[in-house]
Symmetry: C2
Subunit: 339 residues, 2 copies
DNA sequence: CACATTTCCAAAAACGTTTTCGGAAACGCG
DNA sequence: CGCGTTTCCGAAAACGTTTTTGGAAATGTG
């Protein structure tokens, strides 16, 4: 079996408390005994039991990534993975214990955020995938445990948010389309009341108004962010408003852009020759589609890293809860043609 | 703060042991007191601290997914995510506590598998991403904790392996190409000595020999499973052996297929009209490329689910360690043309 | 009714750590 | 040398559970 602190203590001829002090680099121990204990520990291949450590210790070095709806949507694999990579990167660099938990709307009602933290003895979490109707909104706000949400504004004393300036980013994306000469632009939108939808819509409108452009009601196509919906809805749009002279589709996500392109191709059009299309998110598929999709990269891995960073600082009392707005970048590829 | 078992005991007027018995549905407690305790617990919103539970309890209900090299390669996001989804699915259905750990070749030397399990009090793990030179090979074999590897044969009393019949699958894929009339087929291969490469090579050769086909040395293109390598190597191949009359590229992974298609397009060829290409893995990008790529789907999510399942059964003593071969399926799409 | 058995529960040990408390030894200073 | 500090470390409490042990009460049996 694996050696415990008791075994090390016995072997080194000291008490367990002393071994603990040696292992944790405390001050009230002589250099000589520390050396000796460390040596013995190494020889015995001793590793502290993190569970016991976590139970006993006052301040926990464990954080978590909480993914809501992970098991439900098949779409955004990249997003979650890249986010986690960022978080894990930070955790490893700072020797934090990190784990991942999956929740959904149902489990959110059964167990508060604070309870989840308590159950697993974690100091805080980076939370991704919350819908704005989710019970966790209240749960987080009321919680004493710090947390960092991604792309969703919660409020509360202990909750930070890491996001991009989606309004500005979408404005920029729209402006790019306009700069390429597009004047009649259809908007492929996400769920009507989702926070991200609202922000991106605002960005689009800002750019259009600034350039004296109109966005007729019939030109906005609503979906639930699902590729297949974009596919069928755009197909319908082409049938109904094909003669309206639209030259470009401004999509609120990359998956919607992919669906849009599929619909266009199916209807016999070429992208970008007949219609231009842009996406939003910067998931890696956009590099491999035909044509490669012009999009806004959210740098999701950095977001994960910075979220973990901020969480850590909140836990350690280095930084207070705050909102962090990370830079985005317009990625120009092949799905837009100058007209 | 959150209620502990002590608080519940006090509130219900019983001892902590009794509360524990009530919560865990043990037999030696009267139905009446159980009811009462459960009620009190519910009212107080009591949730057992899983860390304490895990420390105290003899048999742990925690399993883990261990990802090796997670932070290194940017390529196979899908793979890991889908695998995890499968594992988490099983865990949630069976009320297991599941967590995820990231290791790499370096951390493998520092800490054995058994130590990692001990540190986190986990009963066993599903392990993905091991390279055949990794230190964990020995570590797993010597370990007392059960584990399930994915796609990699380790050996040892407590280690199972969940995989596909890659030889048969690649044979099938090759046969499909042959059935479509292709006789001169180039092979875009992965790392020379990797287990998966060897198996897939064998499958390809089986099909070719059976059909009386040859595979000249110059027609096998080696890569490290990286898309960009496929891109450049195939480009080189076209320059050097463009006149050899090759009509199809048999790729050992989907990413290689994507790279191959890019190279072909860059060189002015159309897929599948000028050259046919097939991939292997079934990652979701292949559905969105142009053309959509014909491939072999490994059903990675099922693999995750079954791996967790087998792990659980090993822990509970229901099934012994064993190798599980899951079905694959040929997914015919648009990247192959009949010649 | 006496005794054996069963049912139920309280008390306490155990899990492997950290942390607090207190005291012995070493040291410094007059 | 005596006394106050400081340095170092052992003992024990604490973290929140589960599990073992033992015994009182309830039940069954003759």
């Amino acid at each position: 079996m694996t050696a415990t602190i008791q075994d090390v203590a016995r072997a080194a001829g000291v008490s367990v408390g002393t071994v603990s002090r040696a292992m944790n680099d405390y001050s009230d121990i002589s250099a000589k005994t520390r050396e000796r204990i460390l040596e013995v520990a190494k020889e015995m291949n001793y590793r502290p039991n993190l569970v016991a450590k976590s139970l006993s210790s006052k301040h926990s070095r464990s954080i978590a990534v909480i993914l809501s709806g992970f098991l439900e949507d098949v779409m955004f694999n990249d997003f979650e993975t890249m986010l986690m990579k960022g978080c894990y990167q930070f955790a490893i660099e700072h020797d934090l214990d990190i784990s991942m938990y999956v929740i959904n709307t149902k489990t959110q009602t059964e167990k508060s955020y604070e309870q989840l933290c308590y159950e697993h003895n974690i100091a805080g979490a980076v939370i991704f995938g919350l819908k704005n109707t989710d019970p966790y909104f209240k749960s987080l706000e009321e919680s004493n445990k710090p947390c960092v949400t991604i792309d969703v504004e919660v409020g509360g004393e202990n909750v930070s948010n890491v996001t991009n300036d989606h309004v500005a980013a979408f404005d920029e994306l729209t402006q790019y389309l306009i700069d390429q000469g597009h004047k009649r632009i259809a908007l492929v939108s996400g769920r009507k009341n989702a926070a991200v939808t609202v922000q991106r819509f605002e960005g689009a409108m800002n750019a259009m108004k600034r350039n004296g452009l109109e966005l007729p009601k019939e030109w906005v196509i609503y979906t639930n962010f699902l590729k297949d919906e974009a596919d069928s809805e755009v197909e319908k749009f082409l049938k109904e408003h094909g003669e309206a002279g639209v030259t470009a589709f401004l999509c609120m996500s990359d998956m919607l852009a992919i669906g849009t392109i599929e619909a266009l191709k199916k209807s016999g059009y070429r992208v970008p020759d007949d219609y231009s299309v842009v996406g939003y998110d910067g998931i890696y598929v956009t590099e491999h589609t035909d044509p490669k999709i012009t999009t806004v990269d959210q740098n999701i891995k950095d977001k994960g890293y910075e979220a973990a960073h901020l969480l850590y600082d909140m836990i350690e009392g280095i930084r207070p809860a705050q909102d962090l707005i990370l830079p985005h970048s317009l990625v120009i590829r092949d799905s837009v043609k100058k007209v």
